[in-house]
Symmetry: C2
Subunit: 124 residues, 2 copies
C-alpha cells in the first residue's frame, strides 16, 4: 500500500521535516541530519531514498565503502570529492558515487546543502 510523507515546515533549506519520518543523526555530527524518506518501513525492498542536510561549513564523512550512491542536489552548493577529483556542484546536479570510491560532500557558501541520496537496500 502506498505511503505519503508530507514535508512540514519551509523549503529544502529551512530544516525540513516529514510526517512519519524520524530525523537521524549522521555519524558523530549533531548538525547533519539524515531523513529516510522512503525505505523498508514503507515496504520498499530495492532502494532507500534519504535526504541529508549539511549546515554551512559542514561536510559529510570522507569515506569509501562497497555500496554506491545516487545523489541529486536540491539546495545549496557543494564541493564534492570523487576519488582524486574535486568539483563544485549545485542545485539540480546529479552525482553518481561508485562503490569503493572515496567521496565527500562539503557545503559551500552561506546556505545549507540539501541533497537526496539513494542507496540499495542493505547500505547504511
Amino acid at each position: 500500500m502506498g505511503v505519503i510523507h508530507r514535508r512540514s515546515g519551509g523549503g529544502w533549506d529551512h530544516a525540513p521535516r516529514w510526517e512519519g519520518v524520524e530525523p537521524q543523526r549522521y555519524g558523530d555530527s549533531a548538525a547533519i541530519l539524515k531523513h529516510e524518506l522512503i525505505g523498508e518501513a514503507d515496504g520498499a525492498g530495492q532502494y532507500r531514498v534519504r535526504y541529508f542536510q549539511v549546515p554551512p561549513g559542514g561536510r559529510t564523512a570522507r569515506e569509501r565503502h562497497d555500496h554506491d550512491h545516487g545523489v541529486v542536489i536540491v539546495s545549496g552548493r557543494a564541493r564534492v570529492t570523487l576519488g582524486d577529483q574535486t568539483d563544485e556542484v549545485g542545485e539540480g546536479d546529479a552525482v553518481y558515487v561508485a562503490g569503493q570510491e572515496l567521496h565527500c560532500f562539503e557545503a559551500l557558501g552561506d546556505e545549507p546543502l540539501g541533497f537526496i541520496c539513494v542507496v540499495g537496500p542493505r547500505a547504511g
Copy 2:
C-alpha cells in the same frame, strides 16, 4: 568511477536538461519528458534515479505494475492517485507507490510538475 551530470538551463520548472542525459519521451505523450539522471549507464546496478516533468494539465499513465516507485516532488503540485485514494501533494513531499498499486500523478495549477522517481534496476 563517479559521474557528475550537471543540470543545464534554469530551475526544476524551466525544462531542465542534464549533461550526458538524453531526455526520453514518456509513453505516447510528447509533452512529458523522462530523464534518467543515474542508472546503468553510470554503473548503478541496484536502482535508477529518474526526473519527470509533466506540463500543467498533464498526467502520467494511470497504471499498475509489479515494480514500486519512490517519488519526491521537486516542483509544482500534483493530484496523486494511490489505489482508491486521491491526495494533493506538493514540493518536498515523498510518495511511495507499492508494487501492483494503481497510481497516477496529475499536474495541478499553472506550474509544471517535476518529480524524482526511483525504481529498481529492471523496472521501466
